[in-house]
Symmetry: C2
Subunit: 439 residues, 2 copies
């Protein structure tokens, strides 16, 4: 950034709705000693951007859009430096190790990394947090972006010391892996891949999934002195039947994360992936064919259908019992209702869809009568990063491509096309788009 | 039962509401080869009976009330006998081992014990099941009761071979323990004690509880090759703060189960137990004093309050963050709303209340914004029995008493008093009542 340049290109949302303008605005500056300024190399357009785009939220502040970006650090606040993160300070390492010139990827929300909530791993709900591309914090669909609490928020892709200790794959050489991974692929770490892994992780770690996963019946043996009423489960009893509702980019990531985990467990499973939209279903099929070129998983059965067909499939598969669990990756009451219809008694519904300010479509009696468990909410991306990164490396066949039938990313365009891309993405005319603000 | 006697005393519900009559009816007979006829020695009156009593359900069939009973087997269908449960048959052992004269306790629902759902441990939702004291199946508030699928349903208290193998406390002599336990105490196994243990078990086994319980941050390490971003949790981070809403008999059982489990983990905790009703709060305090005569738990803090005071307590304890998790043991929208208000982001609400046919009082946005997890539903009593029995034995100081300030059971009366007891129980004038149909 030359000293003369004081403005930059950006995409900005204008009230009340459907109004994205490409505009010159001042380059952001350090406002707080914990800030970093990042030069954006790629920014993603995401289904979540549409909630604001469509005017579904009560917002009137003009702001720069976009919560998915990757880039390079060009300025650091005064709190950075070799002595910034002494162990006694409780500050994240990155305050000491982050340098101008480092390549970074950001989660879609800021988090401090040093409070109670962050330490528990619930980084998506850090009280000092904010969502990029919201009235509270300008987003990444611009040439530069200001990152508050950058030492707690960013992942440094140039120097792994700050996070590679949490990755522990025997024999894996992540420094080398990283060299082979395109920026367009690494950008998926800012949101949709960790969110997919989050959905699969919530689902598979739920105690009501443990009977099918471990062969040990309910209840989990919490009293160490009481054995489980164990292991009379037949192979058919342990058949895992999972529904995925919503096959946008996040739904595809969730499905890949789920299939990957199930394959590692080497357990038989049946998955039905559901979307209203034919082109979304086609994409999902192509992704599955990429993962399993022989047309089927090691021990798995996988079908992609509309809801009515899926209902019939589940009834046939389970003799009317229903799915062991459901991932809801849509964010509306229609999808939640479908989830309830498909799930078995003592089933689990994990929802990562951003839900509207409407009552959820369940009576208490319905939830009681089926012994339903539900999980809602935002992905704590910063905490999911190690798992998501591992999956990204392992599944470059899916996550490494742009513009193919099976790729999640449809195209990379200049920021000048933002207005048109929002329109086309909203209409379902394009898949996932990335902006290169320097193109 | 002499051959002349063909009728028995029973309490029957009459439509539309508030009409319990003590009536002579025919003694039930074997209708199916899997049936047993049980002579009832004690039957419980329970908060759940009030849903039907008050006419809250669309029922018009006159039927015998009561889903909690203990008694003695007096007749068995033709499917019982030494050769009835060959391993190849898949039939529960009890078809071979149950004898006329055996003392039994029944869960509040019938379950076959030999289907997929039962094998998973979800016995409360067996497709062949039915609730005692409902239009579908006459209840236990009578001198005799017919038990369908008795080989899958009953626990034999005379011969432990069918279930003691699942109890494995080193050094414990359950046969001897059993001798010291009153029938009024064993009756608690039919519903309220297992349901309390179920609530505590669901809560403590939820993955979102694991950070505070284990010291390992979210996410749970599902990929075996990825280490958790572990163990930077401070002692204060790991403080477990739990709210219990509703201190009827089930709420007290759930609280005792919870405190018992937390004490065994030897972790610091804070529990706030909440009820609208002063006398319910007083009972809870007395129970706590019984468990911890010194006025406090080993590492715990425990207070009993109304909702507004509890809100202030939780705010003070957690600096505004909220409870780690909540047990809802009421069954109405007021209690669910209170649960949402008190719980933290990434919190868990476990509900065992029987919920009404009304929309739950949450918008999708509220659930998303706080990353809420919810569990609903009926206790699978048959599956919870080993854990509940162990707790019953260990906490005879609470569960072994009748008619004291700290006992769950208020009094034992004859069945003739059923009409008056339903009235008084509904008005909150008496605590838990047991009927001795032979008194
Ligand atoms: N929890 C998080 O942290 C997080 C992160 C990213 C995205 N999200 C949310 O996840 C959801 C999915 O994101 P996306 O980018 O994939 O969105 P998207 O809009 O691209 O995809 C949603 C898909 O759901 C389908 N759909 C709509 N209604 C349906 C129904 N009733 N049944 C079946 N399918 C239906 C649509 O056809 C579409 O393909 C959105 O709500 C998004 O805001 C949440
Ligand atoms: N899930 C199961 O398998 C199962 C088994 C047994 C009972 N239950 C249900 O559990 C619930 C509790 O059973 P119980 O026998 O203890 O009932 P109960 O009626 O004796 O106790 C309920 C308590 O909740 C209190 N209460 C009501 N509204 C409240 C509010 N808004 N905030 C705080 N407290 C409130 C009441 O004052 C009362 O003390 C009932 O709904 C019952 O039907 C469920
Ligand atoms: Zn996104
Ligand atoms: Zn934080
Ligand atoms: Zn009961
Ligand atoms: Zn069954």
């Amino acid at each position: 950034m030359s000293s003369q340049t004081t403005t930059m290109l950006s995409a900005r949302w204008h009230p009340p709705s459907y109004d994205i303008r490409v505009e010159d605005v001042p380059i952001p500056q350090i406002q707080d000693p914990d800030d970093a300024i990042v030069k954006v190399t790629l920014a993603g357009l995401c289904g979540s951007d549409l909630h604001i785009y469509r005017g579904q939220l009560p917002i009137d502040k003009i702001h720069i859009t976009g919560h998915e970006f990757i880039g390079e650090v060009i300025k650091l606040g005064s709190n950075y430096g070799p002595n910034a993160a002494q162990p006694a300070s409780g500050r994240p390492d990155l305050y000491a190790t982050l340098n101008v010139g480092d390549k970074i990827v950001a989660p879609f929300t800021v988090n401090c990394g040093e409070c109670h909530v962050c330490r528990l791993g619930y980084t998506g709900r850090c009280p000092a947090g904010a969502l990029f591309g919201s009235p509270k914090l300008d987003g990444g669909q611009a040439q530069y972006v200001r990152v508050p609490k950058a030492g707690g928020t960013l992942y440094n892709l140039s120097s792994h010391t700050s996070w590679s200790s949490s990755i522990n794959t025997p024999g894996a050489d992540f420094e080398n892996h990283l060299k082979g991974i395109a920026d367009s692929s690494l950008l998926l770490l800012s949101d949709i891949l960790p969110t997919g892994v989050f959905a699969a992780t919530q689902l598979l770690s739920h105690p009501k999934m443990q009977p099918v996963l471990t062969g040990r019946a309910w209840p989990p043996g919490l009293y160490s002195t009481v054995a489980n009423n164990a292991s009379m489960l037949s192979e058919e009893d342990r058949m895992i039947t999972i529904g995925v509702i919503g096959l946008g980019p996040v739904g595809v990531c969730a499905t890949v994360a789920l299939l990957d985990d199930l394959a590692r467990r080497d357990l038989p499973y049946r998955v039905v992936a559901i979307d209203l939209n034919e082109s979304r279903r086609e994409k999902m099929k192509k992704v599955y064919e990429t993962i399993h070129p022989d047309g089927k998983g090691s021990k798995g059965e996988f079908v992609v259908q509309g809801f009515e067909d899926a209902k019939a499939t589940v009834a046939k598969w389970t003799g009317g019992v229903g799915c062991t669990s459901i991932m809801e990756v849509v964010g509306n009451n229609g999808a939640l209702t479908s989830a309830y219809e498909l799930v078995r008694s003592f089933g689990v519904i994990t929802s990562v869809g951003v839900q509207p300010p409407k009552n959820v479509p369940f009576t208490g009696q319905q939830l009681y009568d089926k012994n339903i468990s539900l999980d809602f909410g935002r992905c704590p991306v910063r905490a999911m990063f190690p798992m998501a990164f591992e999956l990204l490396v392992r599944r470059q066949d899916v996550f490494g491509k742009v513009g193919t039938e099976s790729s999640l990313i449809d195209r990379i365009v200049g920021l000048e096309e933002a207005t048109e891309m929002y329109r086309a993405f909203d209409k379902g005319e394009v898949g996932k788009v990335l902006f290169d603000p320097w193109k």
